[in-house]
Amino acid sequence: MPPSTAKKELIRSITAFIADKTRNDFNNLACRLFAYQFEAIPAAGAYYRKCGVTPANLKDFRDIPPIGLNVFKRYELFDGSRCSKTFRTSGTSGKGRGASCFADEDLALMTTSIMANAGATLFADNRTTRFMMLVPSPQEAPDIIMAHGMAEIAATWGTEPPLYAISRGAFLGPEAVAFLKKCIADQMPVTIIGGSFGFVNFVDRLTPELGSLALPPGSRLLDAGGFKGRSRELTRSGFLELMTAFFKLPADHCFNLYGLTELGSQFYSQGQGAKQPPHWTRVRICHPLSLNEVEDGEQGIPLLYDLANVARPLAVLTDDLGRRHASGFDIIGRASGSAPRGCSLSLEEIR
């Protein structure tokens, strides 16, 4: 089904809002978007009705009942437009792989969001660089949203096509080293993008042989994913220490990305700094049961509101653990999904 006039109009307004952070339109657009989704995504509409929130009585985006990530894994929450692209979650939470459908117009909005966000953070200096990816290419991993988003970024800020150092599940070590050495020889800055653990593996593997690889000025790193459940868990400081020592980069050239397949937008942090929601999103770190916002410095669960989610619900309840800061938020891990210690059994264990 082609996009409705209402959807087209919404996307136009949201796109304009993304382009102009001086406009104070978030609440108004969130309420309009809610009204659209209330009708266009019937399962979500039924849920909102059950929670007693309707377009008629919604005044504040904070009152939109959030939909949990585990719901996305069980239901296809989509506005019924023609799905031209499906991304899938990695399934690392052990709760199955969720799917997110995108129509052409949703993909275009997501790209707008990705570009505006990267342009304001990762490439705030608007400098072009070479790119090396510690993630597979979109051709090899067509359903991984990060591969898609990063390829878009490389196409805009890359001086040439990126080197994909992961191919068919294998790490192309010699090619990666040769590529970085060439960047150094040419004094061309390079942007390296990959999973957090991929970076650690990369550095662990090459440190004995090379000691370090001092990247040219203007180079930068972007990691995503964190370490939950990995054999080696690092704090953010530990990670930054390892990376800055190996690549000889200042810590503020190291960026971290928090993103979900269920969202069209992502959240960046720089160095040790907190994550800053872009102006077309809101993040509230809340007490898990009351869903009231916690105080600065306290832990809670992140509720994410994203205007780039037009075809899918805009208010999402995560099962990550976050901390609220005056200047943004941090992700400190993922809920274990386990009970307080007990001998009663979680079904995950026996399936």
Binding site: A43, A46, Y47, R49, K50, C51, P66, I67, G68, L69, N70, V71, R74, Y75, H287, P288, L289, L291, Q299, G300, I301, L317, D319, D320, L321, A335, S336, G337, S338, A339, P340, R341, G342, C343, S344, L345, S346, L347, E349, I350
Partner: protein, 465 residues
């Protein structure tokens, strides 16, 4: 005020200790080496074993019964300290810890201990001397292991005394690794026993180290003839590997409790409310962390009280109980998982008319649209599944039979007997009434095993050729 409390009991240990502060509790813990463990094992097998032989089983049961009486009193300084410390360490509320200890110890009178042994062994006296066995036409005697080892958990406050009673009653000294996050009750219990009968303190060593220390684990398991293991799937699997193939292992792994409510229990509002209160008590007693706690209720449709109304009654009863048994402080981690579970249930309830979520304060109940088998995050969380007949639930349970343990049934006795035959064949080891699930007696054949008989070996004297 800071409470300083010992988190170990090792008669031979003279080494260094350190302390860990949580809330108002400072736990004193030992820095142990494998040599310390080996020395403790040698002492237990030599002196500890010798001491145990001096007592008859009647005398031992009397001593442990006196200790049980002591722990059922709520006004002693020792119990007050232990309650505060366990609450600080586990997050359980003080009233839940206090009630749990009282309930556990209430199941352990000397008559319960001896009756449990007689169920298992024919007569408890066969551990004291050779005993005429009419089936043998001769005499027989049971011997406990030279040393029993155990790995304990912290889910039920006060439960760490149980393997101690079982080992000591068969006159086997015991060395155990206490739960890392609750090393309090075991040492406090043996101290209370030593206050009654000092030599018995020499027959037990209760150690503390962070799980996964293979050298200490090996030093504990190697000299022991039997290992009693409490823990989850992964823990027990790794411990079994560490112990090796040629040792007797008694395993109390994770189990699931459930309830079945027949129409008989829903004949009027009053009896349904009374039943709901009993069910709430089974859920709240150990804050649902015990394997005896129910997670699912299968309820028959077409009673005078609807299954939906009954679910609301249980929710009310759980809220009412919050004063007497306050819920644990919920970590952000558990809270996040609970929030997600409630969110999914509410979303699904919006899609299906018969489904409903009741989530108020600490209580979470899901009235399911159709019966199925799924566990819950044990945080006073019940899944209520409507069924036409209780027997309809049986095929749903079959795939999970290994994990079934306690079933509380509210129905006529004839129906209970019919269901019991099926449930027993599946692997359920205890069938009782709702409201009693949380208090199995010492006499229960725990997990369907014979806890005393499993520990001993036998010597027969044949009198007739």
């Amino acid at each position: 005020m800071i409470i300083k409390i010992k988190g170990f009991h090792i008669p031979t240990f003279q080494g260094e200790t350190y302390s860990r502060r949580i809330g108002s509790t400072e736990v004193i813990l030992p820095r142990l080496s494998a040599d310390d463990i080996s020395r403790a094992c040698d002492h237990l097998m030599d002196k500890g074993r010798d001491i145990l032989q001096r007592y008859t089983t009647d005398q031992l049961a009397e001593i442990f019964g006196m200790a049980a009486d002591f722990w059922q009193q709520d006004d002693t300084d020792q119990k007050a300290e232990v309650v505060v410390a366990i609450s600080d360490l586990t997050g359980l509320s003080r009233l839940v810890v206090c009630s749990s200890i009282t309930v556990e110890q209430g199941n352990s009178a000397s008559r319960d201990i001896l009756a449990a042994m007689d169920r298992d062994l024919g007569s408890h006296r066969c551990l004291d001397h050779f005993w005429f066995d009419p089936h043998l036409a001769g005499q027989t005697r049971a011997f406990g292991p030279r040393l029993t080892s155990a790995v304990l958990t912290a889910n039920v406050p006060g439960l760490s005394y149980l393997p101690m009673v079982r080992a000591l009653m068969v006159k086997s000294p015991l060395i155990a690794k206490l739960a890392s996050n609750e090393p309090i009750f075991g040492p406090a219990w043996i101290k209370s026993v030593a206050a009654i009968e000092p030599p018995l303190a020499e027959a037990v060593a209760l150690c503390h180290w962070q799980g996964g220390n293979e050298a200490l684990q090996k030093a504990m398991f190697d000299p022991a003839e039997v290992a009693i293991l409490y823990g989850g799937e992964a823990t027990c699997r790794s411990l079994r590997q560490a112990i090796g193939p040629h040792k007797k292992i008694i395993e109390h792994g994770h189990k699931i409790g459930l309830l079945m409510v027949g129409r008989e229990g829903l004949r009027d509002q009053e009896s349904a409310r009374e039943l709901a209160r009993r069910i709430a008590l089974d859920v709240a007693m150990f804050d649902q962390r015990a394997c005896v706690a129910p997670q699912i209720v299968y309820v028959e449709r077409d009673g005078a009280v609807s299954t939906l109304e009954f679910t609301r009654f249980v929710e009310d009863a759980l809220i009412e109980l919050e004063g007497k048994l306050p819920p644990s402080s919920l970590s952000v981690d558990s809270g996040a998982s609970l929030a997600m579970a409630r969110n999914v249930a509410l979303f699904e309830a919006a899609q299906h008319q018969e489904m409903e979520l009741f989530a108020r304060s600490s209580a979470t109940l899901i009235h399911e649209k159709e019966a199925h088998f799924d566990t819950v995050l044990p945080t006073r969380f019940l899944r209520v599944c409507p069924v036409q007949e209780l027997a309809d639930a049986l095929p749903l349970l079959q795939p999970f039979s290994t994990y079934l343990q306690n079933v509380g049934i509210e129905a006529d006795q004839t129906r209970i007997n019919t269901l019991a035959a099926e449930l027993g064949a599946m692997g359920v080891s205890r069938i009782t009434r709702p409201g009693l699930m949380h208090r199995p007696t010492m006499r229960w054949k725990h997990d369907g095993t014979a806890p005393f008989s499993d520990l001993v070996r036998w010597t027969d004297i044949e009198l007739e050729v």
